[in-house]
Symmetry: C2
């Protein structure tokens, strides 16, 4: 078969990360074998996802509310902020079970060669949280949980220099997360140990 709707669907599916033409073709053929509701369901879910999910006004995590579920949770310690590169890192750290503070998502790491400078990250928003806003206490400690790679290290150093003059305790995740492993894919035990053994910067 080589009709336009098919080629168009394959081209669109091949945009997903890690999906080549062969995999996209397999997805398309699979879709054609399903009842029409399956395609409609996927299409509707993707459109809704993109339309309804935004950044939380406080922690910049993705949320369909103005303030996300975690930020709205009064049992969490708002005086401790854990800074991560990506929204998916939050789930990994939360799953370790040892952290009950707040989060802040940078949406990336410093990478001058890729054109990612401080202005491209949610650093201004991070600084704005330091003094305490919306009746929250000032931040006492910032845990830098960026990836243990060149960009993550550079971002942690940059933030440490920025935050320490403000009188905030700045720590970084300890050994436990092996070098080369991205936070998102680290196992719970390693993450728990990394949190416990966090060190001053």
């Amino acid at each position: 078969m080589s009709v336009d709707p098919f080629r168009r669907a394959v081209a669109h599916l091949a945009r997903f990360p890690g999906v080549g033409e062969k995999t996209a073709t397999r997805y398309a053929y699979w879709l054609l074998r399903q009842p029409p509701e399956v395609a409609e369901g996927i299409a509707e879910a993707l459109t809704t996802l993109r339309r309804s999910v935004h950044e939380c006004a406080r922690c910049r995590d993705l949320s369909s509310d103005t303030i996300c579920r975690r930020c709205a949770d009064a049992r969490r310690d708002a005086a401790t902020l854990c800074v991560v590169e990506r929204p998916q890192d939050i789930n990994a750290l939360d799953g370790s079970g040892t952290y009950k503070g707040a989060f802040h998502v940078l949406h990336g790491a410093l990478s001058p060669l890729d054109g990612v400078g401080p202005a491209e990250l949610r650093i201004r928003e991070l600084l704005a949280r330091m003094g305490g806003t919306d009746g929250l206490p000032p931040v006492a400690e910032v845990i830098l949980a960026t990836d243990p790679d060149v960009e993550g290290d550079a971002t942690a150093l940059y933030l440490a220099k920025l935050l320490k003059p403000l009188g905030v305790r700045v720590t970084r995740l300890a050994h436990g997360v092996s070098v080369g492993t991205e936070i998102e894919f680290a196992d719970r035990v390693s993450l728990a140990r990394a949190l416990e053994g966090r060190r001053e910067m």
Copy 2:
């Protein structure tokens, strides 16, 4: 993040074959980093695909026309039918460059344990083509290009018994397609050799 639209999108994306929750989550996060047009485009392409693509009335390949492009091509030899399990097998065989006849898609192979009997395949439609319809000549040869596995072999045997009494020449793809390889993924050279060396059944 753990909002409903996100979970729903992940659940829907995880329906694609070979996609687990981790991959689906990666797709969803990627989608959130793209401009809204990307999600809308994918959604629209999938809906259009499922709505506009049907089986060709003649060869049962997938097409957005009543009669597909290949069946409508008068330069193809309508007296020779190559029978395949799946629509994607057609592209593989066509790509071998040695076949200029017509095709017939069974949409599966006999597999009693999975509840796939002759009625589940497009066998009735295959038999209806033997005498020649719509001004086409009667079929002189049927090449069975089912996969070289248990189901494909059983299907070929079943069809050979059905077709030979009708006075049709029935052949099967020759060595060249190695045992265990699915037609869809065979290389062009092997497929060309398999077509040239096809043998009587």
